[in-house]
Amino acid sequence: MNLLATVVGKSLKEFTRERMVIFWTYAVPLFFLAVLPMMYGGAPAGVVSGLKGGLSLTMVTFLVMTAGQSNLPGSIAMDTERGLYLKMASMPVSPWKESLGRIIATWIFSLVGAALMLSAGLLYGAVFNGSLTDILAAAGFSFLTAVASVGVGLIIASLVKGESAATHTGVAMTLLTYFLGGMALPYTSLPEVLRVFARLHPITSANASMIFLLEGESYIGYNPLGAVQVCTTVASSLLVLAVGVALYSHLCWRR
């Protein structure tokens, strides 16, 4: 617990004290949330509130992706560049516990942003439908996006050298996922190959599941809650995380 709490505290301080991290993680999705609904002009009020709800959830996922896929590898790469891992490798520190501390810090940072995003969405007129069970299930899917995002982030941190390169690779991954995975454009308008991508990608399928649960199928264009689809989403999220932690423990902790 001592080590975990220490690493979580240090990572959170570094995230929250860096203005650019706050801007790109919290402010950019908030900006999208404020601007994109302007394109809904002419739609019935009931539909617009649902669209805003779906957009709020998508922006939560966008934020979670940015934190996990960009902020996390950026901070790891910076620590690698300045020799922190050499220092830690000479100390009685477990790489697994240290990586868990970084992951938890990223999740806490994402959770705060998600609360901020959903509050802003509600103030902006977003409506979420669904029972308590649906809300809990949606929270579970949102957690899966966080699981997969930090997995991707750890993979990037392990394979890409340099803070700038790691951060930008993470941003590129986030944008590609957002634009190609049915988050920016309706699933029904995607070509077949991208529909397959959207269903197989753990983050886009989990995002679709959240919106399906809280807004309905018409806002997503397919049912992502079939047994096979849900199992695929859960398994691929966990797999990405496992690969990320394994790579991180071996490649970032120099031996």
Binding site: N2, L3, A5, T6, G9, K10, K13, E14, R17, E18, D79, E81, R82, G83, L84, L86, K87, M88, A89, S90, M91, P92, V93, R254, R255
Partner: protein
């Protein structure tokens, strides 16, 4: 045979290869408890590789290293409890304050929150950073940051310090202060193993080793090394240009007929510099190459290193 009770660091037959390239080629060392040992060598001579094996951050290809009788490969946890490592780069977090950084490393080391806070306060005081403890490290000077990082290697229980090129990037004043601090730490009982390519830094050590081509080629006390080298005074000449003719003129004044080329001119060893320097200036004038600067000084460890290896410590 080494004595486990009195040896702090024992290195026996250490080899390290990277992709077929032998970086360490049979290093043997025995450093006593409380010693201040400086290892000098050119970049690429294997100094950092040796320190990374000794601190357990890289495994050896062959051979062994013991710290206070504990093998670094077989007993890494015991070793990690008694060593403090300060890598060459600035590893402290610039986003955290000096105090937060120290508390972070103290807690990584296993101290409780209250112990870590207490130790951080004491170390900040000891390093002369108490007044800046609440400042973010991004606002620290290079010297302050290095002192903070050395403090992370002075946590309770640590008995052996490993420092890799600790004065890199420090201005002369900060370097002097920093080396003074290291000397104090050593006098209080800690064993210090410092890697450097700066001769002046090594002067503070009680024993110095020269590393070349993956081996320790010479060891001894700083003054003893200079004495044994048989080097006389050193003359350094700066010339507007270099060439065979100029070198030949200067070489004639060298006691051993050898000449070392430096960035701006040449370095030679001479028995009576006061008498030789005016003649050397006249000789250079004679070939149309007036000396821009000429000075004599006592030989340094860098000169001794050059004599032992025929390689300049710094390009």
């Amino acid at each position: 045979m080494n004595d486990k009770m009195t040896s702090a660091i024992v290195v026996e037959g250490l080899f390290k290869s990277y992709g077929g390239l032998d970086v360490l080629r049979g290093v043997d060392l025995d450093i006593g408890r409380g010693e201040f040992y400086a290892l000098m060598g050119q970049n690429g001579s294997g100094k950092t590789t040796l320190i990374s094996i000794a601190t357990g951050t890289s495994p050896p290809t062959r051979g062994r290293v013991e710290i206070h009788g504990h093998d670094v490969v077989d007993e890494p946890e015991e070793v990690k409890r008694i060593i403090g490592y300060v890598p060459q780069d600035n590893f402290s977090s610039p986003a955290l304050t000096g105090r937060e950084n120290l508390v972070y490393f103290a807690r990584l080391f296993g101290l409780t929150k209250s112990e870590a806070n207490q130790v951080a306060g004491e170390l900040l005081e000891r390093m002369g950073l108490a007044g800046d403890a609440g400042k973010r490290v991004s606002d620290y000077s290079g010297g302050m940051r290095k002192r903070l990082e050395v403090a992370t290697a002075l946590l309770p229980g640590i008995e052996v310090l490993f420092l890799d090129e600790p004065t890199t990037g420090l201005d002369p004043s900060a370097r002097k202060d920093f080396l003074g601090t290291l000397r104090e730490v050593n006098e209080e009982g800690a064993t210090v193993f410092m890697v450097t390519h700066i001769g002046e830094d090594a002067e503070v050590a009680s024993r110095v080793g020269f590393m070349d081509g993956g081996r320790i080629v010479l060891e001894g006390e700083p003054d003893g090394l200079k004495e044994r080298s048989g080097l006389q005074n050193v003359i350094e000449v700066e010339t507007p240009f270099k060439g065979k003719e100029v070198a030949s003129v200067i070489r004639a004044f060298s006691v051993d007929g050898k000449l070392q080329e430096t960035g701006e001119g040449y370095r030679l060893y001479c028995e009576e510099p006061e008498e030789a320097m005016p003649r050397l200036v006249r000789a250079l004038d004679g070939v149309g190459c007036g000396a821009e600067r000429i000075e004599a000084r006592a030989p340094s460890l860098e000169d001794v290193f050059f004599k032992a290896t025929r390689k300049p410590l710094r390009g």
